[in-house]
Point group: C2
Chain length 345, copies 2
DNA sequence: TTGAAAGCGATACCAA
DNA sequence: TTGGTATCGCTTTCAA
């Protein structure tokens, strides 16, 4: 059996409190006694206070939970998510707090249980909002949390709609009218490829809703409206899914002259699928991940690490002023070579 | 005050055990009573059993710790580390276990404390071995652990030396003799750029030692030996550091005809720094991360996710057979366009 | 099917 | 400076 604090106390011939003090309140006992206690502990093979017991007694865990809506292992596939996480880690690091990455099992009950059982002092919820159940569980536990989108008491996001409109305006300004929108999992079970949608509001995920709405705003300004807009559904936020969604679209008559993607990853996938044709079709992304620059992708930049860092900070030292917890970060249109004027035909 | 299990018990008029059973042993009480308990709990706002208390009582945390030697936020900068983590996450996900990412503060005492205080059931130690202190703390706590390199009871690594030799042999086969080796933090405080080293064994980090030794093996086979080998030190495993290390090297007389880097990231940095000259100098990497393919980098592939996945599995369900815990994964030389025969001059 | 009692391993107050 | 005592919130035999 691994020795406990009590064993050390017995061995030294002092009380538990004194041993405890030797570890976390050196000033509460004489240096000599402390040394004696620590030495004995070492001899006994006592590994120091049990973290779980300490957490229970002290009432906090020393870790914050990070919740990704999709499968945890997918999060590492998404370059934007990784940079967000890097930001969270940087803040946690400075604060001396650990990060608990909680995988969400597929079953609803089990996913709830995962959030219920996380030994953390708060949550950083990436990209949820649709995942209301998770927020409910967190609220139920009385834990503080930060999301990456409004509405919430504390969030750090961007103005999705305005940002999306900025790229779309750019494209419209280049003369594009036949434009396809490309987004991930627009409707829960939708197949890859063209999807009929009444409007942006019908999209399942709030982020997607915002971006599609922004795209549509720009198109509406030049007379292109739902449901005439071509919407392409990707079954996942990955390059492959992006490629899959646009496949075949340009084979028919009267193909679009541009693709507005709701993420860089999807846009890069679209470029993959376009191959040679990429020279004539304009494509835009969203996020400005590292790969975007290399591919010459026109996109909207949002500060990724910053978002994660601020989210974690909002959680770790909450602002005194309530209103200060609702943050919209600036975005910036980054024009590269993947967009050009509509070819005259 | 947040209600506890006891409060629910009191409210319903049953004992704590019964409430506990309602949560974790539904078969131990009548459905009717269970429903009554759960309903009351909801009314009271009881969030379910406290995870920390449960962990303490049950004796396990339901999480595994992940330890990166460098700063945690840097880990997300390294594409190989990210893929490793993705593998770990995939295994954890399947196992219903969370991942605790533990940041290591800079101070020695504090770093120890971070490992001592992690409420986990075991550790996945990425790339350590030199970080013996961490392994000592983990052993002291009596927790199981897996590393990414021997020696250890359980590890999943590659034959660094042989893998390194395979790229180096390729380069030597192309006629290169004046070759510069490029590695990260070869000696603790070394400045960026050329570094005099007696031999591979002098390198600080075991992984670096293995790779440099493999490179040197190939060179030795054609009569090039330490300390005549040009070694370039990068101050960090990043593209920028790679670029910084090779800067100026090709300005002088008799520059190397090739650069053997200990990681893809460094190699890509070298290519950045070479610019135009990259067409005449051969460069190789190590790992085969995604960016390597795009850049046409010749490199050694090692299965990244696989490594993480297996490491986590080794931890989560340890093999009955002790010897089965020591795994060397296969590697593969991937020849692309960044290497070519020595130009005749 | 339900309950009583005994911890899990530690911390913090207050008194000595 | 040290020790006694209560408690953190829950799970788990074992007996009723």
């Amino acid at each position: 059996m691994r020795p406990t604090l009590q064993d050390v106390a017995t061995a030294v011939g002092v009380s538990r409190s004194t041993v405890s003090n030797a570890y976390c309140r050196p000033d509460q006992l004489s240096a000599a006694l402390r040394t004696r206690i620590l030495d004995t502990a070492r001899q006994l093979g006592y590994p120091g206070p049990n973290p779980t017991a300490r957490s229970l007694r002290r009432g906090f865990a020393g870790a914050i939970g990070v919740l990704f809506t999709s499968q945890l292992s997918y999060a590492f596939t998404d370059p934007f998510a990784v940079r967000f996480l890097a930001g969270v880690a940087a803040a946690a690091e400075r604060h001396g707090t650990s990060l608990l990455l909680v995988p969400l099992p597929t079953g609803a009950t089990q996913a709830r249980a995962a959030v219920e059982n996380a030994a953390v002092d708060g949550f950083c919820v990436y990209c949820a909002a649709d995942e209301d159940w998770a927020l409910d569980v967190i609220r139920g536990r009385g834990l503080p949390f930060v999301t990456t989108a409004p509405p919430a008491d504390r969030y750090v996001g961007i103005d999705e709609r305005a940002a999306a409109r900025s790229v779309a305006d750019h494209l419209v300004g280049l003369g594009h009218r036949r434009v396809a929108l490309l987004a991930d999992t627009v409707l829960p079970e939708a197949p890859p490829g063209p999807l009929r949608l009444a409007g942006a509001d019908a999209a399942r995920h709030p982020t997607t809703r915002g971006r599609l709405a922004g795209f549509a705003d720009a198109l509406a300004a030049v007379g292109v409206d739902w449901p005439d807009i071509t919407l392409l559904n990707a079954t996942g936020n990955s390059r492959a899914a992006g490629a899959g969604a646009v496949a075949g679209l340009f084979a028919g008559d009267d193909p679009p002259t541009a693709v507005l993607a709701a993420s860089d990853v999807l846009a890069l996938g679209a470029l993959d699928a376009l191959g040679e044709r990429a020279a004539t079709v304009s494509v835009t992304g969203f996020d400005d991940v590292a790969e975007a620059a290399a591919a010459g992708l026109t996109t909207v930049r949002q500060p990724a690490e910053e978002k994660g860092r601020i989210a974690a900070e909002l959680l770790l030292d909450p602002p005194a002023d309530d209103a200060a917890g609702q943050i919209l970060l600036p975005t910036e249109l980054v024009v590269r070579t993947s967009t050009r004027p509509v070819p005259r035909s």
